[in-house]
Symmetry: C2
Subunit: 268 residues, 2 copies
């Protein structure tokens, strides 16, 4: 039986990155594009629990309809299990317009968020992102061809063997140019990619409003951001949803706990 | 100089959980409530980058104005640094109506998301959540008093000594009842708290719409969810933003990488 792949993103149904992923895996599997009807960048693992979702069939590229959902990338993981009448064999998310490197970006990215949401449900998942400013870049013949080759190889590996042992999902970031000398490296996430700023402005009616924005910082050597943005190589970042450090002293945590317990008993 | 604490949540400015946190730390610090103008549950670390934010001063409880922001809890971390003209000494998020236990919930919670966003910027932060259905529960005298004692003790510890070494932030979950026998335990997050479902309905005009929702699952022994929901104890979960496993074999990741590199060179 043909395996089933769900393809989503956070840039919305009109991003050509979805088609790039579908074209890359068509020989391997059924490919279902189910994506947000409008851009949902920086929605992390956000879910829509306070209002219902709408689902719409569209024909955009080629003969296969694609499905637009009025929710977040993470919503779509749940909706897709419903629409497919069971879990898919693989979720591919992207190709995102803009890299998703560093913990700061990974944790708020809707593209990586969808892959994490899938991983929480035990579905193998891979997020793909590229250091480009516009989806038009995905139409450049050589760039598209090389991204497609890597997407196909990694998807094929995961469809056959699963996510590498000890990890929950994979995030892949492509540099702005891929040529003969481009290497593929395994990386860990940088911590920070942007310094955060807030700018206050005044609208024509005299009322203030605020933009939050980030300015890129120079990435630490050897991290995902360094490999993609400085070296211009392809980064494969296997991620684990653990949030527990590998080694941390127990004494400080224990004294925090005992102070809380003392306060509780004194207050009783 | 008095330390500065920013208090936020994902339930919005009208949740009495904000006042509970402020009242708990007033003896320790300046306390600035800066919270979303409307509920922003399940927004994770989501940021609002595609539209500007509005900021509004309100008087709700007592004489100190509180600040409502038209964005997410994570937006508010950035806005608060602007409004305070520098980083606060501590961010407290909550007290959330509903527990935030398990990785599944932690990663999509706006309350914990705000604390994670603060941690990424190097600001000590603590998320507080309670297994209650309504903010009215926070008005019950004994319950409020006990939560307040614990919030004060933990905040005081962190203001003085920082987040325990090796961790990035702390998430505290209160059970639905706190009495003389309630214990305080250090926990690790469960993986999953809800089994996810999607329900299809049809609106009065005959068009389908979908609700996604979760049904609680029985939590694994010893996890945050078990301690709070089954044992009815208080859980302190120190979290680390690492997303990298402590030990994972390198061979599978390496063969994935080499297949991607081979595909790239064959495609060139």
């Amino acid at each position: 039986m043909k395996k089933r792949v769900v393809i989503t993103n956070d840039d919305g149904v009109y991003s050509i990155g979805l088609k790039l992923l579908r074209d890359s895996v068509l020989e391997l599997s059924e490919a279902h594009i189910i994506a947000p009807e409008t851009p949902k960048s920086s929605t992390g693992l956000g879910l829509t629990l306070h209002k219902p979702l709408r689902v719409m069939r569209l024909k955009l590229w080629g003969s296969e309809p694609i499905i637009a959902v009025s929710g977040t990338p993470s919503d779509i993981i749940h909706i897709s299990i419903h629409l497919l009448n069971g879990k898919p064999d693989l979720v591919l998310s992207g190709v995102n317009v803009g890299d998703n490197t560093s913990l700061q970006v990974i944790l708020s990215s809707g593209t990586v968020g969808a892959a994490m949401q899938a991983a929480l449900l035990g579905i193998p998942s891979i997020a793909f992102s590229a250091d480009v400013k516009s989806p038009d870049e995905f139409s450049k013949r050589e760039y598209k061809k090389r991204i497609s080759a890597v997407v196909k190889a990694i998807s094929s590996y995961v469809l056959e063997k699963g996510i590498p042992k000890g990890y929950d999902l994979i995030s892949v970031n492509f540099p702005s140019f891929i040529g003969r000398k481009t290497e593929v490296k395994i990386t860990k996430p940088a911590r920070i990619r942007f310094a955060q700023y807030t700018e206050r402005r005044v609208d024509p009616q005299g009322n203030p409003y605020f933009w939050i924005y980030g300015k890129p910082t120079y990435p630490e050597n050897g991290t995902d951001a360094y490999v993609v943005l400085v070296e211009k190589n392809i980064s494969i970042t296997p991620l684990s949803l653990n949030l527990t450090p590998c080694s941390a002293p127990k004494d400080e945590v224990e004294s925090l706990r005992s102070e809380a317990e003392r306060a509780l008993s004194e207050g009783s």
